[in-house]
């Protein structure tokens, strides 16, 4: 956390205002309280104010009810993670207060609903307590019978006052959110908001004002990772998808189901995971790269079909929004334990592409890249997102849609002849000729799962099987040669290199910043292309004494985790070690640094 964050203990007397550059606000309540809505408003407001923002949420896997939190970190500078400790805790219930006070920094502010929370007297000196009868004041303001309705918007008003947020912009956001409904709904929301805003915070605390953000380059869009994936697919020209609902993937399919018809496309909800991957493969085979997606258990069911995609060389994009496994596991929590499944989860030798976005913005751009790799190399491409990115809201520079949006309508111009599995192309790829295309030679392609000759017809020839296996492998090797070497964050040489993939990039880079500020020689490296790996890793690793692969998965039988195991196998380098955890939560910066220090010390002792 930067020094300019809220650290000042409250002064007695009149509230005073101090300038801050960032704040971490944790809202704790139950899942039906609409706390995600408060977080969403704050995140969206930050995006509109050219501030950086990152959120983190946990939701119970029950249908209604159960404790839930939403944490939002807003900064005028770069925000890399959702923050280790909160500056302000908004607690709706006793369990929210009891369970989350420890996440508040010392002398931070706990704003609690005094209708439900009995504060702990012993903790009064450690944290600044502000009790407000949120529930009854909300009822007083808007009346009505819904006992908890509107208290989220009332609380938003309280926070707006505390952080001197831009009221007209918030009113506009509230209007956009509730504007489509009955006018009384919007009026109620605005009344609740103003009641909160005008309520006295008491005389014990100060208010804050964010320093003006540095960046004013372009406007920003605010969305979560699942939205970014769905819209990325649309920008990439994908017009067909099929899937089966599963947490935390479902909202990608809900968005595409709703949006694709606007573009002449459609997204089909299938009877099961196998039908959906099959339907998507059918559409892809018919000419335009299609998408399917799921979470771990569903991806397992799709594995056989993915093998067909590799064999028949039919492009496809598969999104896996990872959650905790194995089996039903931790449906609403985060884990990075499907990497091995993504690379190897099929039968036979079935090389395919695996990409992992590091943040919400990358979800958008990587979707387009995934589609283009699939088309170029005629291969299934897996995007490994995770629950943390899926639900995390970020603001990022608005993409240039006019430039980015692509049309991938298949070309049905008749061809003279066509060899779908030509063994003599430089990189093993051919441009696909799809159904609906006349082949004048009269020899038509068959896409099949049996090993085949160059026209797709079955063969039992041992030589052809070896050649075709090599062909399928060489396509990925050709792709690898085009990939950029990843860039080291921090100096390219030093003591410790933290290696990560997926949603851990932010916390890892923040860990590097913090370690270097304390004088430690730490850098980090983020791997976006998981399979094939990009070139240049070996020379990067040679610049460090310790290469710690930080992953949210189990250390495994041999102690290296999943990416760690892959890197060990690839580079045979004993200084590659794992730093793994499986508590279903994102890495805290402090946690990474403490674990890295212990790991290195331990390794030194063993020397």
């Amino acid at each position: 956390m930067s020094d300019t964050a809220i650290t000042t203990p409250p002064a007695g007397g009149a509230p005073r205002s101090s300038e801050i550059s960032e704040a971490v606000i944790r809202i704790a309540g139950n899942s039906q309280d609409g706390i995600q809505a408060i977080g969403g408003f704050l995140a969206r407001l930050a995006g509109r104010s050219e501030q950086e923002v990152m959120t983190f949420m946990t939701i119970p896997s029950t249908i209604s009810g159960g404790p839930s939190i939403f944490q939002v970190r807003i900064g005028s500078g770069e925000v890399l993670s959702a923050g280790d400790e909160a500056d302000v805790l908004l607690a709706f219930y006793q369990h929210s207060y009891d369970g989350h006070l420890a996440s508040l920094k010392k002398h931070g502010i706990v704003l609690y609903d005094s209708d439900h929370v009995e504060p702990n007297a012993e903790l009064q000196k450690d944290y600044n307590h502000v009790g407000i009868a949120i529930s009854s004041l909300t009822v007083e303001a808007i009346g009505g019978t819904g006992k908890d309705k509107g208290k989220n918007i009332f609380s938003l008003g309280l926070l707006a006052k505390m952080f001197d947020l831009n009221v007209p912009k918030l009113e506009k956001l509230i209007g956009e959110r509730f504007g489509g409904k009955d006018v009384s709904v919007l009026n109620n929301a605005l009344t609740a908001f103003h009641a909160g805003y005008n309520h006295s915070l008491g005389h014990v605390i100060e208010t804050f004002k964010f320093v003006e953000a540095e960046r004013k380059t372009s406007s920003q869009v605010v969305m979560n990772g699942n939205e970014a994936l769905a819209y990325g697919m649309i920008a990439a020209g994908v017009r067909f998808g099929a899937a089966y609902p599963i947490t935390p993937w479902s909202d990608v399919m809900e968005i595409m189901r709703r949006e694709l018809p606007k573009y002449g496309g459609t997204f089909i909800q299938c009877e099961d995971e196998i039908a959906s991957v099959s339907m998507a493969l059918g559409a892809s085979y018919a000419g335009r790269v299609a998408v399917t997606g799921s979470s771990g258990p569903g991806i397992s069911l799709k594995a056989e079909a993915l093998g067909w995609g590799v064999m028949a060389e039919v492009p496809l994009v598969v999104i896996n929004v990872q959650r905790g496994g194995p089996s039903t596991g931790l449906p609403t929590m985060v884990e990075q334990s499907d990497l091995n499944q993504a690379i190897y989860g099929s039968h036979g030798d079935s090389p395919r592409v695996v990409l992992a976005p590091a943040d919400v913005e990358e979800c958008f751009y990587l979707s387009i890249e995934a589609v283009n790799i699939a088309r170029r190399y005629n291969v299934p491409v897996m995007i490994l997102s995770d629950q943390a990115i899926a639900t995390r809201i970020e603001a990022f520079d608005e993409p240039n849609l006019e430039k980015l949006c692509q049309d991938i309508t298949p070309d049905l111009t008749p061809v003279e002849d066509y060899k779908p599995y030509d063994l003599n192309t430089p990189d093993g790829t051919v441009k696909r000729v799809v159904p609906g295309t006349q082949v004048k030679s009269g020899q038509y392609p068959i896409a099949g799962g049996l090993e085949h000759d160059e026209f797709g017809h079955p063969t039992g020839s041992p030589k052809l099987h070896a050649l075709m296996n090599a062909k399928r492998r060489k396509k990925l090797q050709a792709l690898a040669a085009t990939l950029p070497a990843p860039k080291v964050y921090g100096p390219p040489e030093g003591s410790v290199l933290l290696v990560g993939w997926g949603s851990t990039r932010g916390p890892l880079q923040e860990a590097v910043d913090r370690a270097r500020a304390a004088g430690d020689s730490v850098s980090s490296l983020h791997i976006k292309y998981i399979n094939p790996l990009p070139p240049g890793l070996e020379s990067i690793f040679s610049g460090f004494n310790h290469v710690l692969v930080v992953e949210m998965n189990d250390e495994g039988l041999y102690g290296y985790g999943q990416l760690g195991g892959l890197l060990r196998a690839r580079f045979c380098d004993p200084k590659i070690r794992g730093l793994n955890k499986t508590d279903g939560l994102t890495f805290k910066v402090r946690e990474i640094l403490e674990r890295a220090k212990a790991n290195v010390t331990d390794a030194m002792h063993k020397l």
Binding site: G47, R48, E176, Q220, V221, V222, M223, E227, Y231, I234, A235, R239, A242, E259, P261, K262, Y263, G264, T266, I268, C270, E271, I274, A275, S276, S278, M279, A280, L281, G282, A283, S284, Y285, A286, G287, E304, W308, A312, E398, P399, L401, E402, C405, L412, P414, P435, G436, T437, Q438, V439, G442, Y444, P445, I446, A447, G448, G449, L450, H457, P458
Partner: protein
Amino acid sequence: MSNTANLSPSETVASIPAAVPARKPLSKKEIASDHPTWCPGCGDFAVLALYFKLIEKRQLWQEKITTVSGIGCSSRFPYFVQAHGAHYIHGRALSFASGISLSRPDLHVFVFGGDGDAFSIGGNHFTHTARKNIKLTYVVMDNWVYGLTKKQTSPTSPLGFKSKTDTWGALDYPINPMKQAIAAGATFVARTTHSNPNHVLQMMEAASDHDGFSFIECLSECVEFYDGAFDASNPRKGGKFNLVPANHDVTDEQAAYKLADEAFPGYFGVFYKNNKPTKNAKEAAVSANAMEKLKGLKDWQVLQKTFDRMK
């Protein structure tokens, strides 16, 4: 082309004589590909020959059709047809074919497969493709046995059928494909047998004319592992080929169900037909409606409108 620049597309087509002479219908020679790998005497040969005949007779071009199958003896089908085709995985041919059908309205998709593909490993997909009424033609070559894997019990094997997995005779009650199809909501349900080629062709023609999910159960004898299974339906073997009674109302679901319940050899012909809107048409209507509101906007502009709301 300069003199046609100001004409609308329809006028252009109408006023210029076709430059290319009308295409000759495809001959059997042009549409036949690999020699089938089936055993001599297999009923599947007849189905393939009649598919060729259908293509010839209906003047279907190779770029207008796609032939899809799953896994099994009969599912080798697409390799024997010289046209675009796919040999997909076991039991999932219908889902794969649905992806083609829903994304490519210009193609007619024909799916061929066996009883294991349709009613065992792919049973779920059969039900849902039927209920969604996805436009395609599905011909199940039912031989009451697993042939490719050499004589195991199939979901349509009759009780008591001795196979390698039921040496004492099949214990499980067989599936009745016709009842299954009607109950699942299939909008065209017909039954035929390989031993009556003219009838097979009639059913194929009627199925391909149907706008919706058209299903044909075609008895197709496995001479290797279930010789004589369908003799009772074959007049040449002393059996009886009963056409669906002339007074049968194909729109009457209950009557169709009753026909399907008849003991073997039962009836042959169209049991049920219903012209309800297809999934293809419904999805297209949703899309047309959504696009109407955004008329004149390019795709990127539609997405921009969405992004503008996320600022």
